[in-house]
């Protein structure tokens, strides 16, 4: 049922990378429980704008949980309290009248803050550039049914490929590691026959790049898996480790 609630918001404000930043308090009144979290922020921003104040900057685009653009830490949880949910799909019916809600940006050395809740996640793109692809030239492919892929392998590959690159795994990890992100891409491609020829090279290069970009290492905290809005399993990290080990022992790639 639709009802309205009132909340106290504590939101991270930071005018730019060099600003120290602080938590500011806002009252959110008459918030419909059918609103999404971002729509609630829209309402606050409309009020701030009309009062001549600077609205809160936050990244968002598709608002249906697939583009991976949005994300913030809500009451200490990446993308908020609901399991398997992006911030844009988190609805206000999961909050109660009178709650205080603290909203902060992703915090990680590899994700410098740009403004308020907006961070720079280009390090994730650079990891993909290091090998998150199959080198297939356009136009040279054989008929799509030439290589059968066992259904189970295709399903597991899809489970890993569902990653939306939002960075919640990094924000949730005490080491700010990007192992789940990197492992998911390595797994997706390693599970498919088309991805095998470059598997060794891919695993080594992507992992090296992850380290170089300033992400931490995995110490099996499993926070990433718990907070991933696409519920990507840490099995993918184990698979990546196997791929990297196999590559270092058995392949010519270093």
């Amino acid at each position: 049922m639709t009802k309205t609630i009132n909340l106290t918001l504590r939101i991270w404000r930071q005018s730019g990378p060099d600003d120290k930043g602080r938590l500011d308090t806002y009252q959110a009144t008459d918030i419909s429980t059918d609103m999404s979290f971002l729509e609630m922020l829209d309402v606050i921003n409309e009020k701030l704008t009309l009062n001549g104040q600077d609205p809160i900057a936050f990244d968002h685009d598709c608002r249906e949980g697939i583009c991976g653009m949005c994300g913030a830490v809500v009451n200490g949880r990446a993308h908020g309290p609901e399991k398997g949910t992006t911030l844009c799909q988190l609805h206000m019916r999961h909050f109660s009248d009178g709650d205080t809600v603290v909203v902060e940006p992703w915090r990680a050395r590899a994700f410098p803050i740009i403004k308020d809740l907006v961070v720079d996640r280009s390090a994730l793109d650079i990891i993909v550039q290091a090998g998150g692809f199959i080198s297939a030239k356009t136009g040279g492919a054989p008929d799509a049914n030439t290589i059968p892929v066992p259904q189970a392998a295709a399903e597991k590959a899809m489970d890993a490929a569902a990653c939306i690159g939002c960075g919640a795994c990094v924000a949730a990890c005490p080491n700010a590691s990007a192992m789940l992100f990197t492992g998911a891409k390595i797994s997706h491609l390693a599970l498919l026959p088309q991805g095998r020829p470059e598997a060794a090279r891919r695993a080594i290069n992507m992992l090296k790049t992850m380290d170089r970009m300033g992400f931490g290492n995995c110490t099996n905290e499993r926070e990433c898996e718990a907070e991933c809005p696409k519920e990507i399993s840490i099995v993918n990290i184990a698979r990546m480790n196997r791929e990297v080990l196999k590559a270092s022992f058995l392949s010519d790639e270093k």
Binding site: E39, C62, I66, H91, R121, I134, P142, A144
Partner: protein, 637 residues
């Protein structure tokens, strides 16, 4: 200017092959001497950037998001069509071509559609080679499903995330080219204008969204892959940043805009529930494979769905269209849903919804099977509405989803400005007045992977270029114009927010230029839009400065263009005194309320020329010739 679509001669099945041979090639060593700008990184832009770079061109790629992996192609759920005929159910290139021309209500260009159908199979081959995890049968071969407007199963899919997987495929190919230094990537950039020198597109002016800097970029050709303009309605299934600015700026510089009134209202979306709502969410058309659409038989019946007995339910699509049933094309399904609601048979608190019911499918196939097919969609529905669609039927209502209109292009995908190419949803060419499901992904990738790489070479070898750098006077002028627009927006200092105006514009468009249109309403809408545009420039308030990340300023620029573009949509809708596909003028309908075309007078693409500020645009007509598919009244009965 006389429009020449440059359609090659010969039988339709041979046109593209013949054209490929006749197009001049650029020597491999010379390719690196050409710079190409690609704006947008959806399926069209991502695939074009990757392939052009692979061929050896210097590519500069721009996107509005923080990463080229996020463009709104990512949200396409259901699938991508191809004429593989793997299920052996009678599909062929010819049938895909035929279905698409008919689905578009005979307002698309035959030669382009045939090429699209022809290219479809190579897309699937390439995507599999890239590692797209398409759904597979137990034997390991690719699985297919059905989509609206077709009686064969030709849709390939990756759960309900096909667009995401295809886009990540293009993104991975693009990433490889970035790593190799063949593509220079400019994320968080918005194209503010096109630079035209000596009649050729030679560059763009962009705003760096992080620090507000205006930047000039030069090239030998510009490829726009900037998507559709559905957000003119404010509420649509488009992403929040989707806009018309790049296309409209190019229009003002001389690119004709074709068929802007052809917009697609998708039948299966989650209904509107409040004024604070920022966007609408689509539920994939694939759901109509198993879901049954119904409303109560009696107007005003407000009982919960579970208390309405079978005999008092009206399965209006199955009833009216026995051979296509729930899988009629989108325009037909949408109009029928609206018709039922207009009769007072709508459900839910607003009465603006119909049921999409899976109870029979769950009984027949088991809950587990339905979950496997549509799990993520059901979950999304549950998150947004707080209702469990395994237990109660979904409530759905049509919403703006896709725009068939776009910049006019010839067979080479070049606009009326030399060297300006337009790909994907941003152009107008392949879907006529109504797009069939699972064909947008096909078109975006066909344009990017398999068409532009060849046709751009033909242009580059034939064109004469003078040396142009970003110091050129036209670059300076264009940048100054962009700057003064920004200054003007920041200086208004009025009392309404940009979103507030945008919402009002959206309502005008939805009420008068939405699912059903009439001449009186269109006239009225035109006045209302002009008035609102006046108010926008006098009474909005844009906080912050131009030297900073300023999302309000970004939106203000986009809404300013929507306010001008909306009027062009209305003018186009008034010009087209017939009904076809997504354009339904109430004065032109058959006895059973289907769209009634007027082929004698309106069998053309209307390409509009910008003639100056507050001046009437001028229409140029490209007559559409149907030599291979006979013009007929569409029937899905």
């Amino acid at each position: 200017m006389q429009l020449d679509a440059q359609i090659p001669g010969g039988p339709i099945a041979e046109k593209w092959d013949r054209h490929l041979f006749e197009l001049k090639l650029v020597n491999p060593a010379n390719k690196r001497k050409y710079d190409i700008i690609v704006v947008g990184t959806g399926l069209a832009g991502g695939s074009a950037s990757a392939t052009l770079a692979e061929l050896g061109y210097n590519v500069k790629t721009f996107c509005i998001q923080d990463s080229p992996r996020r463009a709104h192609s990512i949200a396409a759920q259901g699938g991508i069509n191809a004429a593989k005929n793997y299920p052996n159910d009678g599909d062929s290139i010819w049938r895909l071509f035929y279905d698409t021309v008919k689905g578009g209500d005979f307002r698309a260009r035959e030669a382009n559609v045939y090429r699209l159908a022809q290219t479809s199979n190579a897309i699937i081959d390439h995507c599999v080679a890239q590692g797209i995890p398409f759904a597979r049968d137990y034997g390991g071969l690719l699985a297919n499903r059905s989509f609206g407007g077709a009686q064969v199963s030709r849709t390939f899919y990756a759960r309900g995330q096909t667009g995401q997987q295809l886009l990540l495929g293009a993104y991975s190919a693009l990433s490889r080219q970035i790593a190799d230094g063949n593509v220079q990537l400019f994320p968080r950039r918005e194209m503010l204008d096109l630079v035209v020198i000596n009649g050729q597109a030679r560059g763009i002016v962009t705003r760096n969204l992080i620090n507000g800097q205006l930047e000039r970029h030069d090239a030998h050709a510009v490829v726009l892959c900037t998507g559709g303009y559905g957000n003119v309605f404010f509420l649509s299934t488009n992403a929040m940043a989707s806009n018309v600015t790049a296309a409209f700026r190019a229009h003002k510089k001389g690119a004709y805009f074709a068929n802007p009134c052809f917009t697609q209202i998708h039948p299966t979306c989650i209904p509107v529930h409040g004024t604070y709502q920022s966007k609408l969410t689509l539920m994939s058309e694939s759901l109509r494979n198993d879901g049954r659409v119904w409303v109560p038989k009696n107007p005003g019946d407000k009982r919960p769905s579970s208390q309405i007995p079978e005999s008092e339910r009206d399965y209006f699509l199955e009833e009216k269209y026995p051979s296509f049933g729930n899988l009629v094309p989108r325009d037909v399904a949408s109009r029928n849903a609206k018709e039922q609601c207009d009769m007072g048979k709508g459900v839910g608190t607003t009465g603006l919804a119909v049921y999409l019911d899976f109870a029979d499918a769950i009984k027949r196939d088991s809950k587990a099977m339905i979950e496997k097919k549509y799990g993520n969609l059901f979950q999304m529905y549950e998150k947004i509405t707080g209702e469990d669609p395994y237990e109660t039927p979904m409530r759905i209502y049509p919403a703006v989803h896709y725009t068939m209109g776009g910049l006019w292009v010839d067979y080479n995908l070049m606009s009326t400005i030399d060297g300006l190419f337009v790909l994907g949803e941003a152009n107008f060419s392949d879907h006529g007045a109504n797009r069939l499901g699972a064909s947008a992904l096909m078109q975006g990738l066909a344009d990017g992977y398999f068409i532009i790489p060849y046709t751009i070479g033909g242009y580059l070898t034939g064109a004469e270029f003078t040396d142009v750098t970003t110091d050129h006077a036209v670059f300076r002028e264009t940048e100054n114009d962009a700057r003064s627009r920004i200054d003007k927006l920041l200086a208004i200092d009025g009392k309404r927010t940009v979103d507030d105006i945008h919402k009002e514009l959206g309502l005008i468009m939805w009420d008068y230029c939405g699912m059903a249109r009439n001449n009186e309403g269109l006239e009225k809408a035109r006045d209302l839009i002009r008035e609102l545009r006046g108010e926008f420039w006098e009474n909005i308030t844009v906080p912050g400065s131009e030297k900073d990340l300023n999302q309000s300023l970004e939106r203000a620029g986009r809404v300013a263009d929507f306010l001008e573009f909306a009027e062009l949509m209305i003018i186009d809708a008034m010009d087209r005194q017939e009904s076809c596909g997504g354009h339904f003028n109430e004065a032109y309908q058959t006895e059973s309320h289907e769209a009634k075309r007027d082929d004698e007078n309106f069998c053309y693409a209307a390409a509009w020329e910008y003639t100056g500020k507050e001046k009437e645009p001028q229409v140029h007509k490209e007559t559409l010739v149907f030599e291979n598919v006979e013009l007929s009244q569409r029937s899905y009965k």
